[in-house]
């Protein structure tokens, strides 16, 4: 069997999008990949292939300062930027995405299907996402619910023409809108991973995802990587050395990682508000 490095090299020029609404297990998956590729995990040195909304990558490919472009002008160039970036990639890339699957004003998808190998869509019960997202944004639960229910919710978007963030603005839609944008599109094949299933059987689910991507990896290797990327280890690492991806206003990025923790954290009113808003998609994903 070819080594993982050889397999990834043979598939170079394409990308696997690791797409998710925030706080749905994307960092866990990236840590798992890091463990699988390098045999170790340092949460501050996760060497998967960046984030789709990277301003540095955009500027490097376009030779211009994207801070001088408005949001729509950026969107018009995103697909081309990734096509160009992937021409020089040395392996199949795994790139984190929080954007919804959307189109620019010409109706062209911002994710170029010709260089997209697959999308691993990571989803988590929105009721568990709420409290975690509130912590992540240093906001109240009510504010997190409002953002998750907002049809045109954004991440890293600054108001009134400010473009200071080192990430480009990311249109996410609502939580349901995000899920449906990825699961309903027909251009890129989707591998769906429910956080709750992965929590229950990490080895089986990570192995399945890799197999569906087209990579051959033994279960033993997956088991070793899962052990290195265990939630408790990541949390301990954050306590010891900090985590650069954490919002400076909050105590920790890795909180409880539990499934069903919402029962202790949300009021019945809040649960009702979320489930009424997202019933259709929650049912589709077996959360109701």
């Amino acid at each position: 069997m070819k080594s993982l490095t050889e397999q990834l090299h043979a598939m170079r020029g394409k990308v696997v999008w690791m797409a998710s609404y925030p706080k749905s297990g994307n960092t866990w998956f990236r840590c798992f990949m890091e463990a699988l590729l390098t045999g170790k995990v340092d949460i501050n040195q996760i060497n998967t292939d960046g984030i789709f909304s990277s301003r540095a990558l955009f500027d490097g490919v376009t030779d211009i300062d994207s801070r001088m472009l408005d949001e729509e002008e950026v969107k018009l160039r995103l697909a081309q930027v990734y096509r160009s970036h992937l021409q020089f990639a040395q392996r199949l890339e795994f790139t984190k995405v929080h954007d919804a699957y959307s189109c620019d004003r010409r109706g062209e998808p911002i994710f170029p299907s010709d260089v997209s190998h697959k999308v691993i869509y990571l989803v988590r019960n929105p009721l568990d996402v709420v409290a975690s997202f509130a912590n992540h944004n240093s906001s109240t639960v009510e504010q997190a619910i409002r953002l998750m229910n907002k049809p045109n919710g954004y991440l890293a978007r600054q108001k009134n023409g400010l473009n200071i963030n080192n990430q480009l603005p990311q249109l996410m839609y609502s939580w349901s809108g995000h899920v449906e944008s990825w699961l309903n599109q027909k251009k890129i094949e989707v591998i769906l991973m429910r956080y709750e299933d992965t929590k229950q059987d990490p080895v089986g689910n990570f192995h399945r995802a890799l197999t569906e991507v087209g990579l051959k990896v033994t279960k033993k290797k997956v088991r070793e990587a899962v052990a290195l990327a265990k939630f408790d280890r990541l949390k301990k690492m954050e306590e010891e050395v900090g985590f650069r991806e954490k919002n400076s206003k909050v105590k920790s990025f890795f909180r409880s990682g539990k499934s069903g923790g919402y029962k202790d954290e949300l009021t019945s009113e809040q649960i009702k508000l979320m489930t009424s808003q997202h019933r259709k998609v929650m049912k589709r994903l077996r959360y109701l």
Binding site: T62, D63, R77, S84, N160, N166, R244, S248
Partner: protein, 306 residues
């Protein structure tokens, strides 16, 4: 009617006004001429040429398309052609002309500008090199507003060797400072700053004239401070570099450094950087993504300025 300008020391002439950039009439012939012309992306099969989605270049030319705004062509070391695209304003066209396109022209003339701001404390200048969005302009404005520094440049710095003093010097070439809306308050505390106006529609960055603020003479470069992002959570790291470390580190902060080799100027660039770092202190400071700018500026003031 011919309009004449001096852009980073190059005499530039064109038949149209370059927005609010100040003119500088001279009897000397121009070193660079800018003309309007219809432009097309160069053919796809040229030898030893780099093809990117929006730019094409080799040792002879550099073509850039900023879609829906303009096309630019730098030919040789003395010609720039530009074409405004439908829907764009001339202000939009000049925004990118003064950024990437002029940097390319300067590289072609072996003038390597740093992506940096600079301030003078008395007769000594400090240059702060950093990528976009790291707070170069804010740092310069803050030091001018709160510590009595004189702003020299806020985004790109050209260093020039002075034979008499055997040292590199820096002076103002771009007579504006550009600040994002939340930072514009600094300008009220700095003498000689003019009224600001938006750089582009929908972009909350303001351009303030500083020609009444800056010194007309050049100032000797004393320190280079390289600002990086580290991988830590809210931690500032600091070190002073020595020897070959200085060359390697400073080189990366030339504006559009990644294009220099393909433009045929790799050797000249390396030589220029090696000469510059010989006589100056080079400090490297890194901050994390989560470090507040105010905390970082305080660190610079306490550890590097004092």
């Amino acid at each position: 009617m011919i309009y004449q300008y001096t852009v980073y020391g190059l005499r530039v002439a064109c038949r149209f006004k370059l927005s609010d950039y100040p003119q500088s009439p001279t009897d000397l012939p121009p070193e660079v001429v800018i003309r309007k012309r219809k432009l097309q992306r160069p053919p796809e099969d040229l030898p030893q040429t780099v093809y990117k989605p929006y730019s094409v270049f080799n040792a002879d030319f550099y073509f850039l398309e900023v879609s829906h705004i303009a096309r630019y062509l730098v030919e040789g070391s003395d010609r720039i052609y530009l074409e405004k695209l439908d829907g764009a304003t001339w202000g939009d066209v000049f925004t990118f002309l003064f950024d990437s396109v002029f940097t390319i022209m300067l590289i072609k003339n072996e003038r390597f500008v740093f992506h940096a701001s600079a301030v003078a404390f008395g007769r000594q200048a400090i240059m702060f090199c950093a990528g976009g969005g790291m707070g170069k302009s804010t740092l310069a404005a803050s030091l001018a507003a709160n510590r009595g520094a004189r702003i020299i440049e806020d985004d790109k710095c050209l260093l020039q060797y002075n034979r008499r003093s055997s040292a590199f010097q820096i002076r103002n070439h771009f007579p504006f400072i550009e600040l994002w809306r939340p930072q514009t308050g600094f300008t009220k505390k700095i003498s000689g700053i003019g009224k600001g106006r938006l750089v582009r529609k929908n972009i909350a960055k303001f351009r303030f004239p500083i020609d009444q603020h800056v010194l007309s003479r050049a100032t000797r470069l004393h320190k280079i401070v390289l600002i990086n992002m580290n991988q830590m959570e809210d931690k500032i790291e600091y070190e002073q570099l020595t020897g070959i470390q200085k060359v390697q580190a400073v080189k990366n902060f030339s504006h559009l450094d990644h294009l220099v080799n393909a433009l045929g100027k790799g050797r000249a660039h390396f030589r220029a950087i090696s000469d510059i770092v010989k006589g100056v202190e080079v400090h490297r400071v890194s901050k994390s993504r989560t470090t507040k700018l105010s905390k970082f500026i305080k660190f610079i003031e306490d550890e590097i300025i004092d």
